[in-house]
């Protein structure tokens, strides 16, 4: 308690020197919290987007389905089982039929994935209702990335080719009835959506599907013969790991920042030991033990971190809240990185992030303060009183 009281007096008395260090430390706090808040915000948004657009609350895959092996698509479809048929009729799941195809925009050839989806579904955010139009051509919807890569616009008519379940190639005209915008690249890039019924007819496999997406508010995970349940954690594993890696990369900046702030504290403490030798000698003459003096200097250093929390809260919280409200616009092209990134990222600051940052800075500041202060214990008090450099 005494050390706290004296340390506070010393810091306030030291004036500008204290406030400069406190400002540097508070800046570190804010920057660390902001940076991690951004990554957490991105993570949160990516998870929400993936859940809404692709993953739902888990999926059932046909046992042969392997999303990374296009050749598996030919063998990975089967009649919709009763349980999932019922779930589909109740709006708790939606079937998807997946096959490989080729598109010929302006005479060019480009491979793609055809996804048959029910126009009535509301399980994922794909605007499949747009497929409910009457047209001589097959109505299809595509995402902005697909539209950009194929140079297609809404209303364009183009040819697609596919191979049905019997191995026969066929081709037809399709009409782009809608181009949607989505933050999840895997939903969009190289994908074309058409109605499930049309797709089943094209493939000559009526009543069959490749996978089911479970509604995000439903919980179906029973064992179904011939189908494998994939939880949403499993489906988002890659994305979560990628963001984790991003966090590790971000930690480099975090440690550089922390190092700079700690250098300032260390420098102040080392200078203090030299400049304040007479004061140290006086403390000892007046009855403080060396341990108490070391404690006082350590607490002084640590108190920089505490004052920095207060100062940081004064100017940092409004800034962080403002950022949380307006978000940060991501530069054009970031959505081509292959991971879900929204146009704007809204930082998320959890209590855990704030507490852990404060604790980490506080502990490291205390250690950095203790190291030079420890030198006091080797000081000769009679020389210290006279201010002789030791």
């Amino acid at each position: 308690m005494l050390a706290l009281k004296l340390a506070y007096r010393n810091l306030v008395g030291a004036g500008l020197r204290t406030w400069l260090n406190v400002f540097v430390l508070s800046f570190t706090y804010i920057l660390i919290i902001w940076q991690f808040g951004m990554i957490d915000g991105w993570n949160y948004q990516a998870q929400v987007d993936m859940k809404n657009w692709e993953v739902g609350n888990g999926q059932y895959w046909h046992q042969n389905f392997d999303p990374y092996d296009f050749f598996s698509y030919e063998e990975s479809h089967a009649q919709i089982p009763e349980l999932l048929k019922k779930a589909t009729s109740e709006g708790k799941a939606t079937p998807i039929l997946i096959s490989q195809g080729t598109i010929y925009p302006d005479g060019r050839l480009q491979s793609m994935i055809l996804r048959g989806i029910s126009p009535e579904q509301k399980v994922i955010a794909i605007p499949s209702a747009e497929l409910n139009v009457k047209s001589e051509e097959i109505p299809v919807i595509i995402g902005q990335r697909m539209a950009n890569s194929c140079k297609l616009n809404q209303g364009d008519i183009t040819t697609i080719r596919w191979r049905d379940a019997n191995g026969t190639f066929d081709a037809k005209e399709v009409k782009i009835v809608k181009i949607f915008h989505c933050n999840v690249p895997s939903v969009d890039a190289g994908q074309m959506y058409l109605s499930l019924e049309n797709h089943q007819k094209m493939m000559q496999i009526p009543g069959q599907a490749t996978m089911f997406i479970i509604d995000k508010n439903s919980n179906i995970n029973s064992n179904i013969s011939g189908w494998e349940y994939k939880s949403h954690e499993f489906l988002m594993k890659e994305m979560t790991e990628m963001i984790k890696m991003k966090k590790v990369g971000g930690s480099v900046l975090y440690f550089i920042l922390l190092l700079l702030a700690m250098l300032a504290i260390f420098d102040t403490q080392v200078l203090s030991i030299f400049r304040r030798q007479k004061e140290i000698g006086t403390y000892i003459a007046m009855g403080m033990t060396r341990k108490q003096v070391v404690g006082l200097f350590t607490v002084e250093g640590a108190m920089h971190a505490i004052l920095a929390v207060i100062i940081g809260a004064i100017y940092g919280f409004p800034f962080l809240l403002w950022q949380m409200k307006i978000g940060i616009s991501m530069p054009a092209g970031t959505d081509n990185l292959g991971i879900p990134i929204a146009e704007k990222i809204f930082p998320v600051y959890g209590l855990g992030l704030i507490i852990s940052t404060v604790m980490l800075v506080l502990i490291i500041t205390t250690i950095v303060s203790y190291m030079p202060a420890h030198k006091i214990s080797k000081m000769n008090p009679t020389d210290a009183i006279k201010g002789k450099i030791q």
Binding site: L2, K5, L6, R9, N10, V12, G13, A14, G15, K278, E279, G281, T282, I284, A285, M286, G287, M288, T289, R290, K291, Q292, P381, T382, I385, K386, G387
Partner: protein, 236 residues
């Protein structure tokens, strides 16, 4: 040890290492001090005055011999007990005042009381009393940098006296002061010595201080060459 005997020093030797050899700063010192003395260790620079004062103040330890201060053997005291001795019973006054620069006058004087965990109300009274003794009640909020040398030394005296220690050790207290301030400070210390029966031990070669001493211990080359009691006109 007699009841009012505060300090006993027997055959005290203090050596300092110099290269491979040693320098003997004090050699065979024998002394006693009683309650209420106003004594001075006098002598030229390098005679061992400050070294002896530091040993009495438990800031240093003897190389040989024995120094007993308030019943405690200085050579055997551990760091903690030496600190407790200083904290409770000793007051220090330094040539360069050694006030804490970022503290106000009030906070400087209050500091020794914080170390002995005195309650806030008692502290306030004790600090104001001490500042009253030295005539600085109007400067409580000033910082040392805003005071003259004489005022700084008066604050240092108040700081040394505030806990009413049994012994005050003053190392060249007037060396940085002009004649008028030196006399004022010394008169003030004499008054406190008489009123509170505090033992004052000076290390000095300043004639202005010497003329106020009631006991003069002359040191030369680490040895006591003269120890005389100076009788006042009244005593004569």
């Amino acid at each position: 040890m007699e009841q009012n005997q505060l300090i006993t020093i027997n055959n005290l030797v203090k050596n300092f290492p110099i290269g491979k050899g040693k320098f003997t700063a004090l050699n065979g010192i024998n002394l006693t001090f009683k309650t209420g003395e106003f004594a001075g260790l006098v002598g030229p620079s390098g005679s061992g005055k400050t070294t002896l004062l530091n040993i009495i103040g438990s800031l240093d330890i003897p190389s040989e011999g024995y120094a007993n201060v308030l019943g405690m053997n200085i050579g055997k005291l551990n760091i903690k007990n030496a600190a407790i001795l200083r904290r409770l019973h000793l007051g220090f006054i330094f040539q360069t005042y050694n006030l804490l620069p970022v503290y106000s006058v009030y906070e400087n004087v209050e500091f020794p009381l914080l170390l002995i965990n005195m309650s806030a109300s008692q502290r306030k009274k004790a600090v104001m009393d001490a500042l009253d003794w030295v005539g600085l009640t109007d400067k409580i909020k000033s910082r040392p940098a805003q005071l003259s040398g004489g005022e700084c030394q008066r604050v240092a005296v108040a700081r040394a006296m505030v806990k009413k220690p049994k012994i005050v050790l003053a190392d060249e207290p007037t060396a940085n002061l002009d004649a008028a301030n030196s006399h004022n400070i010394l008169k003030m210390m004499m008054k406190l010595n008489e009123e509170l029966k505090t033992t004052f031990i000076f290390a000095t070669h300043d004639e202005k201080v010497i003329q106020y001493l009631k006991r003069k211990i002359k040191l030369e080359d680490g040895k006591i060459v003269k120890d005389e009691i100076i009788k006042t006109n009244k005593e004569l």
